[in-house]
């Protein structure tokens, strides 16, 4: 997976693969923003390698935008959306890639450099590079949030994992997020089902929805392929598919964005509608669209500005190219204002996509919507040349786009490169044919087109040659099927050149078509395409035409349905079948005279709900395209553009022929309109003129392209990208649809980067628990069983499960497995996780469920469940015992740690020791600790403690139970900690019981030996208890005693202590436990501290990205992890128990405890005893300067190793030499 690894992780900050110069704007004239985060600092974004000129001008014009943006807090947005096109001078050079932006492009941001450039990936084509953030705004609409978040997860997951990670890819889990995201989007927009009124009513919506779904189904299909490839172990293919999936996921989001845009545009005018309707009804004269001009102010500026600037730069052609390519790539109908500069068709297209409905006049809006809702009789015009042109161009661009995208991903295998180039070349050839057709149709235009056609041809040729060279070299030089990055650069350049040239050519062609009128042309399916020399590309160019034609026509048929914004046709809304029924002759342009003054045209509308539709469409329609743009551009936060003084530029740079003076002037007016618009962007001076001219210009559009011809042209270019696939995927789409319609709560889940659930609502968690796609993640399931009582009641869980059982019935495909899993959840609960005292409340519900619902579907399962339900209420403990392995990863193998054949060590007991114990039991004198072998004492302690430790149940560790109500809810935890404390007290007691210094020293030495043995046994609990006691103030202050203990023993104690040092949160101990193989007895207190902090430090709920408050499952996962870690050690030692010694030890500990009960606290009495034994005066005389606080003096022998641990404070180091 070198190729994945070569891509930096999304979140990493050092992503910047590119050299960036931090440049301050010296061109910004406006500097009134004192905000340190002001964008004016960031802008103008310096193009990485000195192509500042281009940006420079732009940046100056955008100072005002920047000011607006400066007010935003510096939040990192994962997604940005370009509100303004950006065309860098040098797209590619050696080390940097600067991305061109089209308006509306959505960008996945990886990092943002302080200079304002962001390292991002364009969703539209998967290209990655630098882009200026000041051209973008944050993109995070509510409806999309879930999908965007899913994309992020998807991206992280795909990037982070290598293709061999079968665990992840095997279960297709990663697909769920995207699907749920799409579902969420559709649900939030009330477009979940095909039958939903919105979808039915608005065809634009319907199409976009369909396109979105088809893309989704592609992804699903690809994911399946991935699964297969993975099983086969074909790493290369896996990588390839992963790349494809990422691109597809991008596309899905892109389409989602587009869908939402369309919806927004449909929706926006609806609000002011009602009032307007009534007004309109009162006087049959439709009011002027309110606030239209201001709309222009707000929205039209940048586009026209761009246009005029384009001309200013004398770069019209280039701009046009981008405009045209935008046609293919654009996300929103109105996002690319540039297109209007060059092609009226684009305008018309925009118009049609949205319908002329943006007008703030609802009635007309409605009527229009109605009219376009059904299939238009005009729709049958797939042979229109303009249509063909668009289609071909779109296909070509989509090929190139994905090609470029793949280049950016740096993962080309030779075959796929060859394939991609071939596809591109083929589709390019087809496009050229269309251009040729236009040329031949009207000889007069040849001159205009010739040049750009030739340029385009050359570019494609160049691409093919480049690819060929590279492929040839690769065959010679390289072992692997991978194209080296340097070659990528060349290919990228060639491909970009293609895009450019093609855009230019298509733009001109469109412009020409605009002039000469559209016409129909029968394309010959057989011999389409200008052939490029593809022979070097070893693969056979397959079915170039079949790819082109059938799907093409299908897509056209599919999309034309909705296109016609014409009002004068009666259309049945209910018939949604995209079958064109009427063929109109459409090659005769019908000049549509602008009728600003008499705008009402009655429209026969055969809509079932026409009550409020008052046909008032005409003026609107005339202005439609501009209004459309306005509406779609009507963003409140759009920064006003500065006025520029380029209003009188030479226009129409490539219009050598003007068929009619009318057209010419119209065209001019259009031009001037765009400029006016730009100038009025920031001022009101030009308002009237502006609106006027805009109307005029739109009229001119109409004049050249009559309504009838518009229909086919209006085909949304972007959808073409997918509609080529649509036909073959009809069933797939249905499949996805049915999946989407499935009720799901998947969007209510929150994941972390590793793909683990960190939060979710109860239904969502239950759904996860009963997922049909895969066996549920073991950790998740055990966490759920263990902790669910912390976030819901048993009754609530039962209800959620039953509900899951019910609602999954709606989706026939997954109902069976999900229901079985639901049953399994119940079964697992009753068998192994039932806790009678709390869960009893749910038992009746479970029985009822088994008797009624489950019995109806899975009778035998119902019977089994009923059986279990009967048993749990009488059983003591789990019916099916929970194994240690039920939790935690390593626990599963826990039992294998000690091979059974390992011989159990013989007890280190002498006959006399045994006899002493027997005598003691018979009532004789009590032996002393000194009488026994330290090893055996350590062993018996360990056995005792481990049996306590093993009896700790996971439930006891939940919710800080052991700290509450004196630990009633956690008896075993309490017993364990009591034993540890008892042991400590025993140690102190045995030392302090002797009056002789030497005896005490002997006992200390003995305990040090025992501690050492405990350490060898990895009994850290006892080690902690003993070292604690030995360093307790009562013991440690016995200076005379310690002086008698040998240095060697003291050193030993020191090192023993360091292993159980609690400083830095038990860092040393954690390190020891980390890879410790059982048997091992960790210090329980450490787990208790961890669990307490997890419990207290993590809130019970969290807010998901969609604003939903969900269960903080992460908290429970952490709890379960900690418990799982504890359980990992619940494996008994293989040691022989010496019953008598055990008994003696217990009795000794009890004896000390009894003392405790009788008198005050043990520590205090030990301290008193200690003072008696060695009065404190002695010590104080020895350290006159410092109070006898060992931690501070640092001179004590057990000064907590502070000096060793590098935490010495100034005081200590200063006082140490004293």
């Amino acid at each position: 997976m070198a190729m994945l690894n070569s891509q930096p992780a999304r979140s990493s900050l050092q992503v910047a693969p590119l050299a960036i110069q931090k440049t301050r704007s010296n061109g910004s004239s406006v500097a009134d923003s004192s905000d340190p985060y002001s964008q004016s600092q960031i802008t103008p974004p310096a193009t990485p390698n000195g192509s500042q000129e281009d940006l420079y001008t732009q940046a100056q014009e955008h100072v005002q935008m920047e000011i607006e943006m400066a007010n935003e807090p510096p939040v990192f947005h994962n997604f940005l959306r370009a509100f303004y096109p950006f065309q860098p001078e040098n797209i590619v050079n050696d080390s940097t890639v600067t991305l061109p932006l089209n308006e509306g492009d959505v960008v996945l941001v990886h990092s943002i450099h302080t200079n304002g450039w962001a390292d991002g990936t364009l969703l539209v084509n998967g290209a990655r590079g630098w882009l200026p953030t000041n051209y973008c705004e944050a993109y995070d609409p509510d409806e999309m949030r879930s999908l965007l978040k899913a994309l992020l997860n998807f991206w992280d997951m795909m990037r982070a994992t290598c293709g061999n990670d079968s665990e992840m890819f095997g279960n297709q889990e990663f697909m769920k997020g995207i699907i749920a995201g799409v579902r969420y989007l559709l649900e939030r927009t009330h477009c979940l089902t095909r039958e939903s009124p919105l979808v039915q009513q608005y065809d634009g919506l319907r199409r976009n929805r369909k396109s979105l779904l088809s893309e989704l189904s592609c992804l699903v299909k690809t994911a399946r392929r991935l699964h297969d490839a993975q099983r086969m172990g074909n790493v290369e293919e896996v990588n390839e598919v992963v790349d494809e999936m990422i691109l597809r996921a991008f596309k899905i989001v892109t389409k989602g964005v587009r869908f939402l845009d369309v919806l927004e545009e449909e929706r926006r005018p609806l609000v002011p509608t009602i009032a307007a309707i009534t007004a309109a009804e009162d006087n049959q004269v439709p009011p002027t669209p309110p606030a239209e001009s201001s709309n222009f102010d707000a929205g039209y500026g940048p586009a026209a500005d761009a246009g005029s600037r384009a001309e200013d730069d004398g770069e019209t052609a280039e701009r046009a190219q981008y405009a045209a390519s935008d046609v293919a790539r654009s996300l929103t109908p109105a996002e690319n204002r540039l297109s209007s500069v060059c092609t009226h068709i684009t305008n018309a297209r925009r118009l049609s996509q949205v319908g002329p409905l943006q007008i703030h006049r609802p009635s007309s809006t409605l009527s229009h919507r109605l009219s376009i809702a059904g299939p238009s009789p005009l729709a049958h015009s797939q042979n229109l040349v303009s249509e063909k042109l668009n289609a071909c161009h779109d296909i070509f661009l989509s090929h190139l786009g994905s090609f470029i995208g793949r280049l950016h991903l740096q993962s080309q295998s030779r075959p796929s490169l060859a394939r991609a180039v071939k596809q591109s070349a083929t589709s390019g050839g087809q496009l050229l044919v269309v251009v040729d057709v236009v040329c031949t149709h009207n000889a007069a235009v040849i001159d205009v087109l010739e040049q750009s056609r030739a340029a385009m041809y050359d570019r494609i040729q160049e691409l093919v040659h480049t690819a060929r060279d590279i492929l040839a070299n690769a065959t010679l030089d390289m072992e692997e099927d991978v194209i080296v990055p340097q070659d990528n650069g060349r290919l990228l350049g060639a491909a970009t050149g293609c895009v450019k040239a093609t855009g230019e050519c298509v733009a001109k062609t469109k412009w020409v078509i605009e002039r000469i009128g559209d016409f129909e042309f029968e394309f010959d399916n057989g011999s389409l395409g200008v052939n490029f020399d593809l022979s070097a590309l070893t693969l056979v160019r397959e079915e170039k035409d079949s790819k082109y034609c059938p799907s093409e026509s299908a897509s056209i048929a599919g999309s034309t349905v909705s296109e016609t914004p014409t009002a004068s046709t009666a259309i049945s809304v209910t018939s949604s079948a995209p079958v064109p029924s009427v063929v109109l002759s459409i090659d005769k342009p019908l000049p549509d005279v602008p009728q600003v003054t008499s705008p009402i045209t009655e429209q026969p509308v055969s809509h079932p709900l026409p009550s409020n539709s008052r046909p008032q469409s005409l003026p609107m329609r005339d202005r439609a395209s501009s209004v459309v743009q306005t509406a779609s551009y009507n963003r409140a936060d759009l920064p006003p553009l500065p006025r520029i003084s380029t209003a009188s530029l030479p226009m129409d740079t490539y219009s050598p022929l003007e068929p009619s003076s009318t057209n010419g002037s119209d065209f001019r007016s259009f031009r001037s309109e765009s400029m006016t618009a730009s100038s009025s962007g920031s001022g009101s001076t030009y308002l009237s003129r502006h609106s006027e001219s805009s109307i005029l210009s739109q009229t001119s559009t109409r004049a050249t392209t009559p309504d009838s011809t518009q229909a086919p042209r209006n085909q949304p270019s972007f959808s073409d990208l997918s509609t080529t696939e649509t036909t073959s995927q009809a069933e797939e789409v249905d499949d996805v649809e049915s999946r989407l319609i499935e009720k799901t709560f998947a969007h209510e889940l929150v994941f972390n980067k590793e793909g683990q659930v960190t939060g979710g609502s109860l239904p969502a968690l239950v759904e996860r628990l009963t997922t049909h796609e895969s066996t549920p993640d073991a950790m998740f399931v055990s966490t759920f069983y263990l902790t669910f009582r912390l976030f819901c009641t048993p009754t609530a869980l039962t209800q959620a499960l039953v509900e899951r059982f019910d609602y999954v019935g709606e989706s026939s495909t997954i109902a069976a497995p999900v229901r079985l899993r639901t049953y399994n959840v119940f079964k697992g609960w009753l068998e192994s996780h039932w806790r009678e005292e709390t869960d009893r409340e749910a038992l009746d519900l479970i029985k009822e469920f088994a008797q009624v619902k489950l019995a109806a579907i899975l009778p035998s399962a119902a019977k089994r469940l009923l059986d279990l339900a009967e048993k749990v209420s009488v059983a003591d403990g789990a019916l099916v015992p929970r194994f240690v392995s039920s939790m935690g990863k390593s626990g599963a193998t826990g039992t294998h740690y000690i091979p059974a054949e390992t011989p159990v060590p013989a007890p280190a007991m002498t006959r006399s020791q045994t006899n002493a114990l027997t005598a003691w039991k018979a009532g004789g004198s009590c032996p002393s600790i000194l009488d026994f072998d330290p090893l055996e004492i350590a062993r018996q302690l360990t056995i005792k403690q481990m049996s306590l430790f093993c009896s700790i149940l996971p439930e006891e560790l939940l919710g800080s139970k052991w700290t509450k109500l004196a630990g009633v809810g956690a008896p075993n935890v309490k017993a364990m900690s009591a034993f540890t404390t008892g042991l400590s007290n025993l140690v102190a007691d045995t030392i302090l019981q002797y009056d002789e210094v030497k005896k005490r020293a002997l006992v200390i030495k003995h305990w040090i030996k025992i501690a050492s043995q405990c350490s060898s046994l990895h009994n850290y609990d006892a080690l902690m208890a003993i070292t604690c006691a030995l360093t307790d103030t009562s013991i440690k202050r016995l200076k005379m005693t310690w002086d008698t203990v040998s240095v060697k023993r003291k050193e030993m104690l020191k090192s023993l202590q360091s292993t159980v040092d609690f400083n830095q949160n038990y860092k040393a101990l954690r390190a020891r436990l980390h890879d410790r193989v059982p048997p091992c007895l960790p210090f329980l207190g450490m787990f208790l501290t961890d669990l307490t902090f997890v419990d207290v430090g993590n809130p019970a709920t969290k807010t998901s990205d969609t604003g939903l408050v969900v269960i903080n499952f992460d908290k429970h996962t952490r709890t379960a992890k900690s418990i799982g870690e504890l359980q990992r050690f619940q494996i008994p030692y293989r040691l022989t128990e010496v019953a008598d010694l055990q008994e003696w030890l217990s009795s000794q500990i009890d004896r000390v405890r009894e003392k405790d009960k009788a008198g005050a606290n043990t520590q205090a009495s030990h301290y008193r005893k200690s003072l008696l034994l060695e009065p404190r005066e002695v010590q104080q005389l020895r350290t006159p300067v410092e109070p006898p606080t060992p931690a501070v003096t640092g001179s004590g022998m057990f000064a907590w190793m502070r000096s060793n641990s590098g935490t010495t404070t100034a005081t200590q180091s200063l006082s140490a030499p004293l």
């Binding site: 700290t963 935890v973 949160n1065 208790l1088 961890d1090 307490t1092 902090f1093 430090g1097 200063l1214």
Partner: protein, 204 residues
């Protein structure tokens, strides 16, 4: 006095949180993971001086009575935390304080008294005046805080830090005076150099 030194080492203190503990000092970490370093180390700036605190919160291990001695010994400054909603948690502080004084064998050990869960005003069981009275008798500042709403959490640590710093400054001065008496100038210089080296090591 810090001002006498041009070079100020980053000081590091051990702070022990006691009482109705669970006074999570950095709850703002969205997912609290006790095993990461941030969960027990924190850096504060007191009077322009950087101080690193290593915080020992023994939450959850109250039952290990024998360990308390050890915990207390390791601390240089103490937070005595009780819940304003629990009278018993307040009453326990007296015992804890005695133990601190006994183990540290020092009546001037820096202590700050904290009435936590101040966000539960409606459940208040400990009178503010009463708590304040006790704190004055102990000569320890009193704060009411809320780990949940993060009210006064930083202030508590900063106050404790300030006490610790002043105390250390005083000790340093004392030590220097003694040094001056006991040693020749040359020896003092040497010692200081040594100390500086040591301090550098601390930073590294």
């Amino acid at each position: 006095m810090p001002s006498r030194f041009t070079y100020q080492p980053v000081r590091e203190y051990h702070v022990v949180v006691l009482g109705a503990a669970q006074f999570v000092h950095n709850e703002w970490i969205e997912s609290y993971d006790p095993t990461i370093e941030d969960s027990y180390r924190t850096q504060v700036t007191v009077d322009g001086r950087q101080v690193v605190l290593e915080i020992l919160d023994t939450a959850g291990t109250d039952q290990f009575v024998a360990m308390r001695d050890l915990f207390l010994k390791s601390g240089q400054g103490f937070l005595l935390v009780f819940s304003i909603a629990s009278r018993s948690s307040f009453d326990e502080l007296a015992t804890l304080r005695e133990e601190i004084l006994r183990i540290k064998d020092d009546d001037t050990v820096p202590i700050v008294m904290v009435g936590n869960k101040a966000d539960l005003e409606d459940q208040r069981a400990v009178d503010r005046a009463r708590a304040f009275g006790v704190s004055r008798s102990w000569n320890a500042p009193y704060y009411e805080s809320s780990a949940r709403t993060r009210t006064n959490v930083d202030e508590v640590f900063i106050d404790l830090c300030r006490q610790l710093c002043r105390r250390e400054d005083k000790l340093e001065e004392q030590a220097r005076d003694e040094l001056g008496q006991k040693m020749s100038d040359e020896a003092a210089k040497k010692r200081r150099r040594r100390r500086r080296r040591k301090e550098k090591c601390v930073i590294l």
